[in-house]
C-alpha cells in the first residue's frame, strides 16, 4: 500500500460553519508533509478527522481503515503528538513505559530505554518534576519506539526552547524517519521544518489551496534579489510579493522560466513562509 491517506470530498461542518470543504487529498508512503495554514483554516479539524477523533462527511481512508469507525485499531499504526505537555503530571518514566508496553503491540521498550539513556531522565522521575523540554524528550522517545506507519505532529514544538526545537526535528529525521514511514506536521514555525519537508499542503478556509512537492515548488516559484535599476523590468513580471531589504527588492515570482528571472538578479529558493503569504494574497485577489 503506497497510499497512506486518501480523502474524497471530505467535509466537516460545525453548525453553519464549514471547517472543511470537499477536500480531496492523497498522501503517499515515505512523505514528510507540512500542513500549513492560518488559525481557523481547518488544520486541526483535518488532523482530528485523520485520527478518528471527529465525525465527517465524505470518504476518508487512513491505511485502508475508516478512522472514525475503527479508531482504536487505527491507533496501532498511528502515533500522534498533539502538544508537548500532554503527558500526565503524576506519571513516572517507568510507569509510562510499562503502560505503553502493555497496551501498544508495536512498542519496543528496549528502543525507548536506549533513547532515554541519552537524556538525563531517571526511571523513577515524575513528569511533574520535568522541564517542558524533558517531557518532550520522554514523549519523543516513546513515539520513536513505536513501529508506526504514520506520525502526526500537531504543533509539536510549541512553547519549547529553541535548543530543544532543533533537537526535536534532528532526532526525528536521524533516528526515526525512513522511506516506509509518513509524517504529517503542522506548525507556525515553518522555517524550522521547511528543510525536512518533502511535500507541502496549504489550507485556507477549509480548502486545500496548494498541494505540491517541494521540488515542483522550486521549479515554479523563485525569489529574486532585484536591484533598483531593474525594478521596473521586474515589476512587469508581476511579482507575487515584494519587500525591500538593504536597498534591494526581494521579489517572489511564479514563473515557468528561471532564465528570464536570472537576468533581473540573484535567484533563490523562496522560503515556505513567504510563499504561503504570497499564495494567500494571490487567492484573495483571484
Amino acid at each position: 500500500m503506497t497510499q497512506i491517506i486518501k480523502a474524497t470530498n471530505l467535509s466537516k461542518s460545525y453548525g453553519k460553519f464549514q471547517a472543511l470543504k470537499n477536500i480531496n487529498l492523497t498522501i503517499g508512503k515515505g512523505k514528510i508533509v507540512g500542513l500549513i495554514g492560518p488559525n481557523g483554516a481547518g488544520k486541526t479539524t483535518l488532523l482530528k478527522s485523520l485520527l478518528g477523533l471527529t465525525a465527517y462527511d465524505g470518504d476518508l481512508e487512513v491505511m485502508g481503515i475508516s478512522p472514525f469507525k475503527d479508531r482504536a485499531k487505527l491507533m496501532e499504526d498511528i502515533c500522534f503528538i498533539a502538544d508537548v505537555a500532554v503527558l500526565p503530571d503524576w506519571i513516572k518514566v517507568n510507569e509510562v513505559l510499562d503502560f505503553v508496553e502493555q497496551t501498544h503491540p508495536k512498542f519496543s521498550r528496549t528502543k525507548a530505554e536506549s533513547f532515554l539513556k541519552k537524556t538525563k531522565l531517571g526511571a523513577k522521575q515524575k513528569v511533574k518534576s520535568m522541564s517542558k523540554g524533558m517531557v518532550v524528550q520522554l514523549h519523543l522517545a516513546i513515539v520513536m519506539s513505536i513501529e508506526a506507519k504514520l506520525l502526526v505532529l500537531d504543533e509539536p514544538t510549541l512553547g519549547l526552547d529553541i535548543i530543544y526545537r532543533k533537537d526535536f526535528y534532528d532526532n526525528l529525521l536521524n533516528d526515526y524517519f525512513d522511506n516506509e514511514r509518513t509524517i504529517i506536521i503542522t506548525t507556525h514555525q515553518v522555517e524550522e521544518i521547511e528543510h525536512i519537508l518533502t511535500d507541502l499542503l496549504f489550507i485556507k478556509d477549509g480548502e486545500i489551496v496548494l498541494d505540491a512537492n517541494m521540488e515542483e515548488l522550486t521549479e515554479e516559484y523563485f525569489e529574486v534579489m532585484v536591484s533598483s535599476e531593474n525594478y521596473d523590468d521586474a515589476m512587469s513580471f508581476k511579482p507575487l510579493q515584494s519587500r525591500k531589504v538593504f536597498g534591494k527588492h526581494v521579489m517572489l515570482f511564479k514563473h515557468p522560466n528561471r532564465g528570464e528571472l536570472e537576468a533581473l538578479g540573484e535567484v533563490q529558493r523562496p522560503g515556505v513562509a513567504d510563499l504561503f503569504v504570497a499564495m494567500l494574497k494571490e487567492e484573495d485577489a483571484a
Partner: protein
C-alpha cells in the same frame, strides 16, 4: 483486551495511590495511635488519682464478661471500624469517579491516552471496575490487617496486666467472619451506589469545567422542578416521599450495614439482645435483594453508556 484492562487498572492505582492505598493505611495508623494514647491516658490517670477505674474497666475486668458479651464486645469494635472504612471508601470513590473522565481533559493528557490503541469503552469500563471491585478489595485487605494489628496490640496490653489474650481476644474476636462481612458490606455498598457512580461518571465526562457542581446541581434542579410541578398540578405541598427515594441509595451506600432497614433509619445496636454478626450478614443479604437495586443498575447502565459515548465523540481535546 484483558491485557489492556490490566494496564488501565494499574494506571488508576498509580494515579490514585494516595486515595486508594494511603488513605486506609493512615486511618488504620490513626486508630491504633488513638488506642495507645487512650491506654496511656488511662495509666496516667490511674497513677495521678490512685483510682484504677479506667484501666480496670478496659483491661482488668475484661475477664469478668461472659463469652457472649466478649464476642459482642469485639463484634461492636470490628463492625464500627469496618463501617468507618466503608464510609471513607464511599467518599474516596465519589471523588475518584467525579474526576475520572475529567482530570485528563483538564490537564490535556487525554490527548496522550487517546493516542494509544485503546478503545474508549475499555477506558471508561476500567475506571468503573477499579471503583466497583479493586479499590473495595484494597480497603478490605487493609481493614483486615488493621483488625489483626488491633488484636495484637490489645493482646500485648493484656499481657502487661497479666491477662490471658487467648481467651479474651483471639477466641471471641472472629476475624474470618468480620472479613466476610466487610466483603459483603462492600458488595452491598457497591450495588446501592452504582446509580450514583453512573451519574458521577456521566458528570465527569460531560462537564466542561466543574463536574462537582454539575453532579450536584442538575439533580437539585430536577428535584425543584418536580416539586413545583406537584405543587401546581396536585396542590401537594409536603412531599417528603420524593426525597426518601434517592436518599435511600445514598444512605445505604454510605452505611451498608444498616441498609436492611427499609425506611432509611439506621441503627446498629449490638449487645446481648441486639444484632450479632450473623444478623448483620442476613441484613446484608436481604439488602441486596431489594428491587431498587435493579432500577439502580439500569440507571447506571444508561449513564455509563452515555459516558462512553461522550468520551468517544465529544471529549476529543
Amino acid at each position: 483486551m484483558i491485557k489492556n484492562f490490566k494496564a488501565l487498572i494499574r494506571r488508576e492505582f498509580w494515579e490514585h495511590r494516595g486515595a486508594f492505598i494511603k488513605t486506609p493505611i493512615i486511618i488504620s495508623i490513626v486508630l491504633l495511635v488513638i488506642a495507645i494514647i487512650g491506654y496511656i491516658i488511662g495509666l496516667v490517670f490511674a497513677s495521678k488519682t490512685g483510682s484504677t477505674e479506667f484501666v480496670d474497666k478496659g483491661i482488668n475486668e475484661l475477664h469478668k464478661l461472659s463469652e457472649t458479651q466478649l464476642s459482642t464486645f469485639w463484634d461492636v469494635q470490628l463492625i464500627s471500624t469496618s463501617t468507618l472504612f466503608l464510609f471513607v471508601l464511599y467518599i474516596v470513590l465519589f471523588f475518584f469517579i467525579l474526576g475520572s473522565l475529567f482530570d485528563d481533559r483538564k490537564d490535556g493528557s487525554i490527548q496522550f491516552w487517546k493516542s494509544l490503541p485503546i478503545s474508549d469503552s475499555e477506558t471508561v469500563l476500567s475506571k468503573l471496575i477499579t471503583a466497583m471491585i479493586f479499590v473495595p478489595l484494597v480497603f478490605t485487605a487493609i481493614f483486615v490487617l488493621y483488625s489483626i494489628a488491633n488484636l495484637v496490640l490489645t493482646s500485648i496490653l493484656l499481657l502487661f496486666h497479666g491477662q490471658n489474650p487467648w481467651s479474651l481476644v483471639w477466641v471471641p474476636a472472629n476475624i474470618g467472619k468480620i472479613t466476610l462481612i466487610m466483603l459483603m458490606g462492600a458488595l452491598t455498598q457497591m450495588l446501592w451506589a452504582l446509580p450514583i457512580y453512573g451519574w458521577l461518571m456521566f458528570s465527569s465526562s460531560w462537564s466542561k469545567r466543574r463536574p462537582f457542581l454539575f453532579a450536584i446541581f442538575i439533580p437539585l434542579l430536577v428535584a425543584v422542578a418536580w416539586y413545583f410541578l406537584n405543587v401546581v398540578t396536585r396542590m401537594n405541598f409536603v412531599q417528603v416521599d420524593m426525597f426518601k427515594w434517592p436518599a435511600k441509595y445514598f444512605m445505604f451506600a454510605a452505611l451498608p450495614y444498616g441498609s436492611s432497614v427499609s425506611n432509611g433509619v439506621h441503627h446498629i445496636s449490638l449487645g446481648d439482645n441486639g444484632m450479632s454478626l450473623n444478623d448483620i450478614a442476613s441484613n446484608l443479604k436481604a439488602s441486596i435483594m431489594h428491587v431498587e437495586i435493579i432500577y439502580g443498575i439500569i440507571f447506571a447502565a444508561v449513564f455509563i453508556a452515555l459516558s462512553i459515548w461522550v468520551r468517544r465523540y465529544r471529549n476529543t481535546t
